[in-house]
């Protein structure tokens, strides 16, 4: 198992190198020369050339790529064209906000989806099943920003229970987390339901019942643990998504996360900012994927056996 984890961590290196290269290449294809953007219209050719060297934009794409990797290894992701501040520092200021929002969002999603999915599965084709499936269809099809606006209208403007935006104490996370979490819960509910339906007719649940295990424990222990793998998979994918930032929710709730940071940087052609943020997000997503794969091993011993082979 330890060897598996070390192998996976080593595999991260080529993945990151590849991602940086792709981001670098795409950014290079984008039209417009950033030097003009910084120097302004009146700059002379000589001034432009000096600035180009200063900004590290001289040389071909490969030399710039190598230089970037070298800086990256020292924790330097360059300086923003717009704010002139360190990309790394700016990103790290925003990251905790996104991490908090992402974690609470996933918690909301789990708390809604797993009970709902289980109830739908054990009462398949009943009223309860239909209601939870309609709810989850609603969650899937309702645009995030729209749900967010509705929630703001009800809970902050009308009832004045929570602030409508910004970061101001624990209360301010409720609405954004609910908005994103309910959307994610929809897919996870469906996954939980179908995965439980696969498990619920298995012979080993009958064995458990024949031992005198209570029905509650048959479902929550014997069945759920077997149904968990697809649920964890979907969880991992969605967690990766929210780690990249939920741009719409961050915009609606003025939540200073990395999603808006990236979108703003793209709009302002702030290339070092975009590249740096994408590299960091890739790293986070890779770590989440690794964690998901490790959790698999603890849920299903057959997967663990494959890892240690």
């Amino acid at each position: 198992m330890h060897r598996y984890i070390i192998n996976r961590l080593l595999m991260l290196i080529p993945v990151l190198l590849g991602v940086v290269f792709i981001v670098f290449f795409i950014m290079d294809l984008a039209p417009g020369d950033p030097v003009y953007q910084v120097a302004g219209e009146q700059a002379t050719q000589q001034e432009l050339q000096e600035l180009r060297v200063k900004m590290g934009l001289d040389g071909n794409i490969f030399t710039r790529y190598i230089r970037y990797i070298g800086n990256m290894l020292r924790g330097d992701l360059g300086v923003s064209y717009i704010s002139k501040r360190s990309v790394m520092r700016t990103y790290m200021e925003r990251l905790p906000n996104t991490l908090v929002l992402a974690s609470v969002t996933m918690l909301v999603a789990i708390l809604i989806s797993i009970p709902l999915g289980i109830i739908a599965a054990i009462h398949q084709n009943s009223m309860k099943d239909t209601v939870s499936m309609i709810l989850s269809l609603l969650g899937l099809s309702m645009p995030n920003f729209w749900l967010g606006l509705l929630l703001i209208m009800l809970f902050s403007l009308k009832l004045k229970w929570v602030p409508s935006g910004g970061i101001d104490g624990v209360k301010s996370i409720i609405l954004p987390a609910l908005t994103v979490g309910m959307g994610l819960a929809a897919l996870m509910t469906r996954t939980t339901r179908s995965s439980m339906l696969d498990v619920i007719r298995q012979d080993y649940l009958r064995t458990a019942r024949s031992k005198g295990v209570t029905e509650k424990k048959v479902i929550n222990k014997h069945a759920l643990k077997n149904a968990l793998i697809p649920i964890i998979t979907v969880f991992g994918i969605q967690f990766s998504n929210v780690l990249g930032g939920s741009v719409l929710a961050e915009t609606v709730f003025s939540w200073p996360g990395v999603g808006r940071l990236v979108v703003d940087a793209i709009n302002q052609r702030d290339i070092p900012m975009v590249t740096g943020a994408l590299v960091m997000t890739t790293m986070l997503v890779s770590v989440v994927n690794l964690l998901v794969d490790i959790v698999y091993a603890y849920v299903d011993p057959r997967i663990k056996a494959q890892y240690t082979k």
């Binding site: 012979d203 009958r206 019942r209 024949s210 031992k211 295990v213 209570t214």
Partner: protein, 333 residues
């Protein structure tokens, strides 16, 4: 036999599965009685309703689609029909337990075999986790598996070993009644004998009453005291082992014996029973075996025969015996 000497007393058990394509009549009026420390063989071909009968004794028929109707179902003095679910859960695994047919699917893949054996001990004997696990390890050794393997998962075991684990689970709390549903069918012939010997030894050790479901008359001859032959959801002949084997009455039971290969006459062909069991969604009015029966007369197709006491404890359900001179070919030889 007075009722309180019986571990099992079932009267007029009927089970149907209500599906969109109609009702499947799996069991149609079965009476079963079994004394303490006795072993009953429930014999019949696939689809005769043996497993459904057994599951209903633990009240494990899923509803929907299954509907159980029964006049009386007493297991070790418990009225299984009227007990609430929490009382049933106390009885399952403790008074009555079951060895399932397919060891490949009967074990939960994500728990160790030790945990799975220990679970019923934790529930019924109120043992701590550690004590239950220790006793589970003893149980594992009893069925011939080294205790070091208790921490392993089902996928690390062979089929025969899994069946032993399933047996260990069923026997963990020394049940008064053990139902073994084709316990050796999924196993190699060499392992079959071992498992059978093991079950016999454990049965004697713990004074367990047992129902063995099988279509293998060899197993019946080896371990059973009494035999009930099932066909299309009914018991068509029952009696002591000697009565069924030496004084066979029902043409279907005769057919079962005839379809056994004869080791003394290797040149003879197998004589299978022609035809198939009737469709349980659409059972015939008359004797369910009549369409396949060599002795059937017109009367057999008209009404259902009743299970009638012929001699000693020997019952048969066949109208041919209305004629006192009737005998099946097996008896004439």
């Amino acid at each position: 036999m007075p009722a309180n000497d019986l571990i099992l007393d079932v009267k007029n058990l009927a089970i149907r599965y209500e599906t969109e394509d109609g009702n499947v009549h799996a069991v149609n009026g079965v009476d079963l009685q079994l004394g303490y420390r006795k072993t009953l063989g429930l014999v019949g071909e696939t689809g005769a309703g043996k497993t459904t009968t057994a599951l209903s004794l633990l009240r494990l028929i899923p509803n929907p689609p299954g509907v159980v109707e029964c006049e009386r179902m007493m297991v070790a003095g418990n009225d299984m029909l009227r007990l609430p679910i929490d009382k049933l859960e106390e009885i399952r695994g403790n008074d009555i337990s079951m060895i399932f047919q397919d060891p490949m699917t009967a074990l939960n893949p994500v728990f160790t075999v030790g945990e799975q054996i220990a679970e019923s001990l934790e529930i019924h004997e109120r043992l701590s986790k550690a004590d239950a696990y220790e006793k589970a390890m003893q149980m594992l050794e009893t069925v011939g598996i080294s205790r070091s393997r208790g921490a392993e998962y089902p996928h690390q075991f062979s089929g025969g070993m899994k069946q032993r684990v399933v047996i260990a689970i069923a026997l963990a709390c020394n049940p008064k009644l053990l139902i073994a549903d084709e316990p050796t069918t999924a196993l190699d012939v060499t392992i079959q004998a071992q498992v059978l010997a093991l079950m016999k030894a454990l049965k004697n050790k713990y004074d367990t009453s047992m129902i063995i479901i099988t279509h293998d008359l060899g197993i019946v001859a080896e371990v059973c005291d009494e035999v009930a032959v099932m066909y299309a959801g009914r018991i068509i002949e029952k009696g002591s082992l000697e009565e069924i084997f030496n004084e066979t009455l029902h043409p279907y039971t005769e057919g079962l014996f005839n379809s056994l290969p004869n080791i003394n006459d290797r040149m003879s062909k197998l004589r299978p029973i022609p035809g198939l069991m009737p469709d349980p969604t659409n059972l015939p009015v008359g004797c369910t075996f009549a369409p396949r029966c060599g002795y059937a007369s017109a009367a057999c197709l008209e009404r259902q025969p009743r299970l009638t006491l012929m001699s000693g404890t020997h019952y048969v359900s066949c109208m041919a015996y209305d004629d006192p001179g009737f005998a099946i070919n097996r008896r004439k030889q």
